[in-house]
Amino acid sequence: MALIAASLARRLGGHTVLDGIALTLEPGRLCVVIGPNGAGKSTLLRLLAGIDRPDGGGVILGGAALENMAPRERARRIAHLPQTIAAHWPLNGRDMVALGRLPHGARLEAPAAADAMAIATAMSRTDTAAFSDRRIDMLSAGERARLALARVLATEAEVLLADEPVASLDPAQQLAAMDALRAEATRGAIVVVVLHDLALVSRYADRVVVLAGGRIVGDGRPSAALAPDMLERVYGARFEMALIPVAVSDRSRAG
């Protein structure tokens, strides 16, 4: 069951943000979207999630067009992690994660057994069980980001779209988060992640989509997409392969 974007276009205020996007995303694979600021990465993810309507083209999940899908069903099948996580009320950690079960009809005050299980699993996979009863406004940005990831995992969706999920995380937590997303792909989900950290891209991506100026300029294996020529063309800066410390495993798995 694939997620297919067919000639997607999106315009905002007379400006073309995305144009002619064609993608077929397959289950079991982790696809990373890279590109410079303003390339349209977040817009693409919102269109794929069905949160925004495209101005041209469409998105099809398992043969059904997203725009014809009931919002609840769409949300059950596609989980979207936005780049910025607003927290308008000081919910506690568990309640924030539990919101991921909303599309399943879960009630925050009395989650059913399946919901409670999904919430607990998601929290243990993001190592956020300790924040269960802490107010999210008292947590650091990184801690909140991990809860946000847990919220998306808890949905147990077929498609998982994460917009810069590791931006505020320390290196070990970055690996833990990417491991969790990788595991989602392994269980058979379609996973699309927007990343800026090229080291993480090379390490985790099965496929890299390079976006620039609202168009796909590269799509393939990480080695091709991360070639210095491609990067220079896209980012306008010269890249070299360098030797830097790279964590081989996060703390929780080290022991």
């Binding site: 919002p71 949300a75 979207h80 936005p82 996580i85 308008h88 009320w89 919910l91 919101l99 909303l102």
Partner: protein, 331 residues
């Protein structure tokens, strides 16, 4: 959660009984009960059924309507100050009711008065959202509320002043400060249908309001349509507030205080705060209405004076926190 509701329910029930027991002629429940059972129009039975009971019932209905509408509006706008009174929605509801009542149209159909309140409240809410949008800052909301309140209050005074009835002009206090004194069962029949009908969309919005706690983008990702939520909350708040205010006038701050007190008890979940806020609102109005009957003032104070005395410090505290933290106050 269930404990909170149960405790509040018991509290409201106790206040309801106290409210019925308090009055200038004391309380003789047994005599009244035996009179009632024998079907006699004895004085005490009449007082209990026709004066005390409607007053207590209206306290519950109006308090619940304002508490629930306040909690829902705060959830939708993600703003702890979004309250029927502060935002001016109650004032526009009162204006609608005043236009209808003093124009002499209230007798046209039984529901003309509450419906006018509903239309007034809906206009106020739509105007508020049109200007403020769904993510206005605290300051913006207060400014728009102040403008709406001033405008609706002035228009109300104008309508009352233009009425040929010599008493009309002096009733501005009742409409702008609220009262449930000397109302009857017929007033209960006016307020109850609209308030009950308004509760439905508000309660339907509860899960959506939870999702909105993480912002509109997340909410949309969770299958919640913010526009639908807006519609539900406007419709529900207009029905509940319009129906209530048409009978009581503007009773301020109830929708501010009730959710404010409730949120910490329900872990700040907007959806979970709805029902307890309705109960807390009922308790607050009953309490204020009992207090003003016990106060040794020559004439009974308007209900809104009591709720403002209690509510203004809460508003102050919220403003103080906002000033210090530079962001939305939560508590």
């Amino acid at each position: 959660m269930r404990g909170v509701n149960a405790a509040l329910g018991v509290f409201v029930a106790v206040l309801f009984v106290v409210s019925i027991a308090v009055g200038p002629t004391g309380f003789a429940p047994l005599g009244a009960l035996s009179d009632m059972l024998s079907g006699r129009d004895a004085p005490m039975a009449l007082i209990l059924v026709e004066l005390r009971l409607p007053r207590a019932l209206l306290g519950v209905i109006i308090g619940a309507a304002l508490g629930l509408a306040g909690a829902a509006m705060q959830g939708l706008l993600r703003n702890p100050l979004a309250e029927p009174g502060v935002t001016g929605v109650s004032a526009t509801a009162a204006l609608g009711a005043v236009l209808t009542f003093y124009g002499g149209y209230a007798g046209a159909t039984p529901l003309a008065l509450p419906l006018a309140g509903v239309v007034g409240a809906a206009s106020g809410a739509i105007l508020l959202l049109a200007i403020a949008g769904r993510d206005a800052t605290v300051a913006t909301l207060i400014l728009i509320g102040a403008a709406l309140n001033a405008l609706a209050g002035a228009a109300t005074a104008l309508v009352l002043g233009l009425s040929p009835n010599p008493y009309a002009f002096y009733e501005i206090g009742t409409w702008l400060m609220g009262s449930i004194a000397d109302r009857g069962l017929d007033h209960v029949a006016l307020a109850l249908p609209c308030v009950a009908l308004g509760c439905l969309p508000l309660l339907l919005a509860r899960r959506g309001l939870d999702a909105l706690a993480l912002g509109e983008e997340t909410a949309r990702g969770l299958g919640v349509d913010p526009r639908r939520m807006t519609l539900l909350v406007i419709a529900g708040a207009a029905l509940a507030v319009g129906g209530a205010v048409a009978v009581s006038g503007v009773v301020g701050f109830v929708g501010l205080m009730a959710p404010h007190a409730i949120r910490p008890l329900v872990r700040y979940r907007p959806g979970a705060s709805l029902v307890p806020s309705a109960l807390a609102g009922a308790a607050l109005v009953l309490l204020a209405d009992i207090a003003l009957r016990l106060l040794p003032t020559g004439r009974e104070l308007p209900l809104g004076v009591m709720t403002a005395l209690l509510g203004a410090p809460v508003l102050w505290q919220l403003a103080w926190r906002a000033r210090r933290s530079g962001q939305t106050p939560w508590l």
